[in-house]
């Protein structure tokens, strides 16, 4: 009885595997694809990556990432392709460029300015 139950429970463990719908890619491609997928924003549900999203468009984008990896494309090529269609928005990490300079350099600049101000303000007192 116990052995039977155990067999049944072990059989249950294989169910999640059956639930995967795109098993025909090699593990290396799958790992790479997930890494790339996490860097791409789902354009439908905008606060999720395409790996996290259940939107049909995200599913198609996930497939495209895998197809392109299988075809030998690099991560940079895939990112460039997605960016061509959807712009910087599709990248979850904003690129360092003109319109994001304030975002990237603002906080450290503010910190330095405040530190300098703090240091030079205290000097006359000592």
């Amino acid at each position: 009885m116990r052995a039977l139950l155990l067999t049944f429970l072990i059989a249950l463990l294989t169910l999640p595997v059956a639930a995967q719908n795109a098993p025909d890619y090699s593990p290396e491609i799958e790992i790479q694809a997930r890494e790339i997928g996490r860097k791409l924003r789902c354009v439908v549900c905008q606060n999720q990556s395409i790996e996290d999203s259940d939107a049909p468009l995200a599913a198609d984008m996930r497939n495209m990432v895998r197809e392109r990896l299988s075809a030998g494309q690099s991560e940079a090529q895939i990112m460039a392709f997605m960016q061509h269609s959807y712009g910087d928005f599709v990248l979850r990490s904003p690129p360092v460029q003109g319109n994001t300079a304030l975002l990237w350099y603002g906080p450290p600049a503010l910190l330095i300015i405040l530190l300098l101000w703090f240091v030079f303000r205290r000097k006359p007192a000592s």
Partner: protein, 177 residues
């Protein structure tokens, strides 16, 4: 009172103005990347004939209104009567992209509601849709005679949009070449 006393207030005001400008922007609205860019190359079958493959040459030589739709798309039905009216006008072709649909479902939907398109491209796996930056159906693009995308509208078209934006743009594109 010195000028110095007003500095915190000044910073506060600048901050408020920056935030107020931020509030007027809709972060859900994505700018289209492909305005004034060539319509991407593609090769897809048509919805009504699996064996007929169309490509980007379809969009050269005449002005095209390209409309992304699907039988599953609930708001597509609202713009459909407007598309049927547009079909009666001349000076441009109407191209449909049947997006993420089953072939028979797409065909049935057009049979039931009327087919305003001269050609319908079948795109079940978003291949063309992702290339042109589709976010959600319906979406409408205007492509000029040289195959450049000149306009994009996201959401269901309304008579106001067609009369105020689309038809004047088509008239302007006719003057261009």
């Amino acid at each position: 009172m010195t000028f110095k006393a007003f500095i915190p207030l000044l910073i506060f005001v600048v901050f408020c103005v920056a935030l107020a400008i931020g509030l007027t922007r809709d972060p859900a609205k994505l700018p289209s990347q492909l305005i004034d860019q060539p319509f991407p190359d593609f090769a897809q079958s048509t919805l009504f004939d699996e064996t007929q493959i169309v490509d980007q040459s379809l969009l050269k030589g005449q002005i095209s209104v390209v409309n992304v739709f699907g039988s599953w798309c609930t708001s597509c039905i609202y713009e459909h009567p407007g598309l049927m009216e547009m079909q009666k006008l001349s000076g441009f072709q109407m191209v449909g992209i049947n997006w993420r649909d089953k072939r028979d479902a797409g065909q049935n939907w057009l049979t039931k509601n009327g087919n305003p398109y001269d050609v319908v491209i079948f795109d079940p796996a978003s291949v063309l849709a992702v290339d042109i930056g589709v976010v959600g159906a319906p979406e409408t693009y205007i492509v000029d005679k040289t195959g450049q995308i000149r306009y994009k509208f996201s959401g269901a078209l309304t008579p106001e949009i067609v009369v105020r934006e689309i038809l004047p743009l088509i008239a302007k594109l006719h003057e261009e070449a």
